[in-house]
């Protein structure tokens, strides 16, 4: 690969990684609240289909993003109601949400299969070069000559980083994920925090889905998310619940995702299926490494996945 090829590849990796980044960020704050939401795939599909339909019918990019955001939040509201209010098992609720989201997207998207995002919306999501930053040699082109959603993902990373590490609300959130009984005794409103963060988490997954149907593809097909939601679940572990590391992790997986396609032109003697398998194989390897190499600082939130009852102790 010469320099331009590498640059092109990395640039494409950023784009392929952006939907993963949104979903990973969403899952990070959900898990920080102590809830394991395995419904990412479903919420991404809900965001993807609602975002696409809105863009197709209204022709308004902003409206499409808001709709996708709300669709993701709606999906996670179901999950939040089940796990926070009814204290249902987290894993089962999440899996149910994935099944629901898949059906939801299939049903709503029926009439739109093969339809393409309207021109004006595509134009609105075209690349914008950021002055100065975009002129940095090599990385300027990769990171700062991109569509607005990529920039939005940078902003979300920074906001979540500040939220988790610099604000008292972020501290309270982490306290809930670590030890809800302690947080409760400290007077924190646990249900409220869980609802808000799960909803925002779901909304971010919805945006990740919309990125796929509006910008990445940009057309409607039922299999638009194609397992990326599951990769995001593993990515959260890989990046040790850290939003800044999530950028690198998401782009790494974005790169693996497109590797097969990019390598085709070099006519290497590697079966296509092997290359397609890479992101998933990498996911498994990551989980193995994560379980072998455990340090005290990189453990998951301690009470993640355990429904909290105040009077049950």
């Amino acid at each position: 690969m010469n320099l331009t090829n590498l640059q092109l590849f990395l640039s494409a990796a950023v784009i392929a990684g952006t939907p993963l980044l949104f979903a990973t960020l969403g899952e990070i704050i959900t898990e920080k609240a102590g809830n394991l939401n395995l419904g990412i795939e479903g919420m991404m599909l809900m965001g993807a289909v609602v975002g696409f339909i809105t863009a197709y019918n209204q022709g308004n990019p902003i409206l499409a993003l808001i709709a996708a955001f709300l669709a993701g939040a709606f999906g996670s509201l179901i999950y939040a109601f089940l796990t926070v209010s009814l204290r249902v098992n987290h894993e089962v609720s999440g899996l149910a949400l994935t099944t629901f989201g898949t059906g939801f997207a299939g049903f709503l998207g029926q009439a739109y299969v093969g339809k393409v995002v309207p021109g004006n919306v595509r134009q609105a999501f075209g690349n914008i070069k950021i002055p100065l930053l975009g002129d940095i040699p090599f990385i300027g082109e990769i990171l700062f000559n991109k569509d607005p959603m990529v920039y939005l993902s940078y902003i979300v990373v920074i906001i979540i980083g500040i939220y988790l590490y610099r604000t008292r609300k972020g501290l309270n959130l982490k306290a809930i994920g670590e030890n809800p009984a302690a947080a409760d005794a400290a007077g924190i409103n646990i249900s409220l925090y869980k609802y808000v963060n799960i909803l925002i988490g779901g909304a971010l997954c919805g945006l990740g889905g919309a990125y796929l149907s509006l910008i990445y593809v940009p057309a409607w097909q039922e299999s638009v998310v194609a397992g990326r939601g599951w990769i995001a679940v593993a990515l959260v572990i890989f990046v040790t619940w850290n939003p800044y590391k999530a950028i690198a992790g998401a782009y790494l997986f974005g790169g693996l995702d497109i590797l097969g396609f990019r390598l085709q032109k070099f006519q290497l003697n590697i079966p296509q299926y092997f290359l397609d398998m890479l992101p998933y194989a990498a996911t498994i390897i990551i989980l193995v490494i994560a379980s072998v190499k455990r340090s005290k600082k990189n453990l998951p939130p301690q009470s993640m996945g355990i429904p909290y009852f105040r009077e049950n102790r």
């Binding site: 008292r168 501290l171 309270n172 982490k174 306290a175 670590e178 030890n179 009984a181 302690a182 947080a183 409760d184 005794a185 400290a186 007077g187 924190i188 409103n189 005290k296 600082k297 453990l299 301690q302 105040r310 009077e311 102790r313």
Partner: protein
Amino acid sequence: MNDQAYVRFHNIVKKFGTVVANDSIDLDVQRGEILAILGENGSGKSTLMNMLSGIYMPDSGSITIDGKPAVIRSPKDSIKLGIGMIHQHFKLIDRFTGYQNIMTGITSNTLGYKKSVKKITELMDKYELHIDLDKYVYDMSVGEKQTLEIIKVMFRGAEVLILDEPTAVLTPEEITKLFVILRNMRKAGHAIIIITHKLNEVMEISDRVTVLRKGKNVGTLNTNQTNILELTELMVGRPMEPIIRRVECEPGDVYLSVEDVTAYNHEGIKVLDNISFELSSHEIVGVAGVAGSGQRELCEVIAGLYPVKKGSVSCMNQEIVGKTPGEIIKMGVSMSFIPEDRLGMGLVSSMDITDNMLLKTYRDGKGLFINRNPAREMARNIVKKMDIVTPGISTPVSKLSGGNIQKVLLGREIESNPKVLVTAYAVRGLDIGASYTIYDMLNKQKEKGVAVLYIGEDLDTLIQLCDRIIVMFSGKIAGIVDARNATKEQLGLMMTGKVMMYV
């Protein structure tokens, strides 16, 4: 009743289903006073205090604070009213620093990091509470964690401080320190409530004592006008001998001998460091130590559940290391470990007593099908011998109370006629009556010639019950002392590694 009462409970009733946890309780505490609430397990002490800290709501009755009626719906309300509760199981977040733990849940404070730290430091100086604010909780000792809890509630402006069994996990030295802190707070005009079942601590620290029995207030006394005997009688409901009997026997042959045992945990940290001791027939040897000093690993090594790096363990001159747990049981070594949650090891909680007997004793039966009759016989036997309160031998163990579960576990171990009986935390969470039943059982085993290793928490018990006491400190043996002339202070110093001593 007292007119200057700062906190007053009036006619408080709380039921859980059909169980009355608190039955019309009246209670009051004033500023500048330490009130002890004394009672056995299940007497309703914690339930009562949890109504003050917003965990439970009373079914009827009222609470007034500073003369004003108080409705406490949540921990948040409770904090606003100036109530600070130090729970028995600390409500701290392990992966936060001390500072982060203090700040968690505080919304009104707009001070920055530096000013907050200054304010906390002033508080620490005022009451002589000292910890490193930047230390992570997982690196803190139990004493430090408790200090942090106290700072946490004081920072929130607590006027009333409630401590639930605060000394249960502390070393004697840490207890002395805690009492100094509490006296400072009393001097500063705080109202302090301390929940406990340890009589000597009631006598040492409190001004007044309220005794609860079976959910009722059976009396409030001035501490300086009462004594341990009177309090025990009030608490238990019948006169009790406050001293545990030690059966004097001539020690026999060495049954268990542990030599230079070293073991590492899965993180590669040394958890047992050159442990050597001998355990003889007709002898109870106690093991004392701060929680996590290697007691659990030692038990598991003897039972064949923990990998040994170096050294040997032999039972009646036969090597144990390398044998499977099943083979070790057959050699006559029996272990019962009561973990903190009481159910984790030894029994399957959803199975009944009979099936739990089958698990260990009748595991090697012949044929494909289970013959439950001998196990039933044994279950009935144990229920009778140990006074286990249960609707029947086919009741799932999880439905029994903690004390009865422990009796089932210990009963099964004893019924297998062991040569060596290892028992860890056998009376954990038990009330006085049930504890004495267990001490009696252990004494009987000793008379029969069994070698007993008793891992315990309460130093008074160890001194009164055992013949010798092994003190462990971070995986090492800090000393082995004769229980007949050991003192709590001496053991406490050894437990923290300050003194090493062999007898």
